[in-house]
Symmetry: C2
Subunit: 347 residues, 2 copies
């Protein structure tokens, strides 16, 4: 029997943004949990990943996903605990990861898309980031698409973000020289002192980004891991070396702006035989189990470090998403929706 006493708080998308995302584009809604049918699983959501691409889907279709309908609960990559199961594959008390919704409890029809996770391998929250979409994005984007080699000069923008912090370290593991940019001195300190970047700079204190990049990369950028787009991408184009690769992972500066930045230096791709390699983690979901094994090994041996920025409470989900678009987070932005009883013992 369903526990009718469970009240489910949800984040609903109610207005399509045309420029900067604001809290008015969301509403909180409470409802009872729907009835479960055979094979359904009920998950108590604990941590949700907060990702910039949600902003893209608010206005544009993606490769295999239509843009969000208004008055729907936003989708979210979530770590949670099975609290009811009518599915023989899942038992109460097990921990799972899946593309669920921004709500306290998700009813997963047929248990579809749920993947069991091991709470002993890493903190639960890690499965939304370093052992989840951020780790997969950094791993595939940097190592398989970017393919840095020893001695190459690598630039990572939004380097203190969820993906950037990992992408830069992965390039370091391959012997590249890695320079990162971020939007505060605190982030720059984090990159240089904690993550071992060769250099880093605060782009908000740079009056001429192209001059800065050319100074830091006197022989040109060999590989740029692009998270920002806009002016950053334009300065990268003006600073690439021969046969440079620009891995286009995100253009977060553009998601929230009504008018895209003009690119003055696209012709540089011709003159330098450069390449822009767009990619999206959705095309690589099948690789996640392998990447979890590799990344957790690197975490255990201290070769990869990461930071999380955890915002508490489902009601603060919209603020967390707005914050990430403004670059307020250091490390992976996570929304904690429910209690994590491992949180003290693991850390």
């Amino acid at each position: 029997m369903m526990d009718k006493s469970l009240i489910n708080t949800q984040v609903v998308f109610v207005e399509r943004p045309s420029g900067a995302l604001e809290s008015k584009h969301f509403e909180l809604r409470c409802q009872n949990i729907p009835e479960m049918s055979d094979n359904d699983v009920l998950v108590r959501n604990i941590y949700s990943s907060v990702e910039p691409y949600l902003r893209v889907l608010m206005t544009q279709d993606m490769a295999n996903t239509k843009r969000f309908e208004l008055n729907t609960v936003l989708p979210a990559r979530v770590v949670g605990e099975v609290i009811r199961s009518r599915n023989s594959q899942f038992s109460e008390g097990e921990f799972v990861f899946g593309l669920l919704r921004w709500e306290e409890y998700s009813l997963v029809v047929g248990g579809k898309g749920l993947r069991k996770i091991d709470p002993g391998l890493a903190p639960l929250s890690a499965y939304t980031g370093v052992l989840g979409p951020s780790g997969l994005t950094a791993y595939v984007g940097m190592l398989e698409i970017g393919q840095p080699t020893a001695g190459e000069a690598v630039y990572v923008s939004a380097a203190a973000g969820a993906v950037g912090q990992l992408a830069g370290q992965l390039a370091k593991l391959k012997g590249a020289r890695v320079v990162g940019s971020a939007g505060s001195d605190e982030k720059v300190g984090f990159l240089k002192s904690e993550l071992g970047f060769d250099d880093a700079f605060n782009y908000k204190k740079t009056s001429d980004l192209t001059a800065t990049l050319r100074g830091l990369f006197p022989n040109g950028i060999d590989l740029s891991f692009e998270n920002v787009g806009g002016e950053n991408l334009d300065a990268v184009l003006a600073s690439i070396g021969i046969q440079a690769r620009i891995v286009l992972c995100g253009t977060v500066s553009q998601y929230d702006s009504a008018i895209p930045t003009r690119l003055n230096n696209l012709t540089s791709l011709i003159l330098k035989q450069g390449r822009i390699l767009g990619f999206h983690v959705r095309f690589y979901e099948h690789r996640l189990p392998d990447v979890i094994l590799q990344m957790s090994e690197w975490l255990r041996t201290g070769k990869i470090k990461y930071r999380e920025h955890i915002t508490q409470g489902i009601e603060n989900g919209p603020a967390a998403l707005i914050g990430i678009l403004r670059g307020e987070n250091i490390g992976k932005q996570i929304l904690q929706i429910g209690e994590d009883r491992f949180a003290q013992s693991v850390k």
Copy 2:
């Protein structure tokens, strides 16, 4: 002994353009031929290739080339005849191709960079186009970088230009479905009737280029051979299919404009996992002998056709270059500088 009676007319670059190229940016100059030293070769220039990238080098450095200095004779890819030689490798009466200058006679120090050509294999003019840089660009760009496969949907912009006319046919040879765009109904007719493109349209008669492309490519563009840039590239980005490749060969719409076009749809590269592959023929000059053999075979068997647009007289060089930036040519724009005594017999 040097024949002092030879007067050499040259095209000199005298003013750096900031927007559209005009005749005032050039001057004609006459001078005597300099003295020859040991190993020098004197070439009577017959045909010169007229290429949009000259406009780029008037304002920007390229990969391995500094932008042009003012008050210098413009460089040009030229077919000519050896009329004096103090080099044992070259004899009077032989025909050569090389990166020389826009002038009637080029003194080639040490014979450096000259390549002998066979006037029996194809008309001399072909070595500036289909058997020269245009053919090499189309071959490498389409077949080796773009790699069209049977059944793929391929879009070629500036399709009636020197490179476009060949690139489209090469994709057809691989079994792709090829659609071209051009700037006049006459060019569109040329693409469909003479070159066998599957479809073609006049972009000047299109009010919404994205809608046109989406209509012509209902499943998305698999491969775009981009010669135009700007609005065309933006519409392509909005119309690509999953894992599309955009071979960035040129951005001719941008060379002559002071303010680049805004790209609204770059994020599409992420959402569709698309790639922009910049390339320049200068990185592939060593491939030219192989490509000449292959292309001349295809010409002989009628698998590849081409058209030339020949402007007469060194004094009309600037007008020819201005014309190509405005899209006035159909096929390869060539400047005829001197007499071609094979012209009647070969055609």
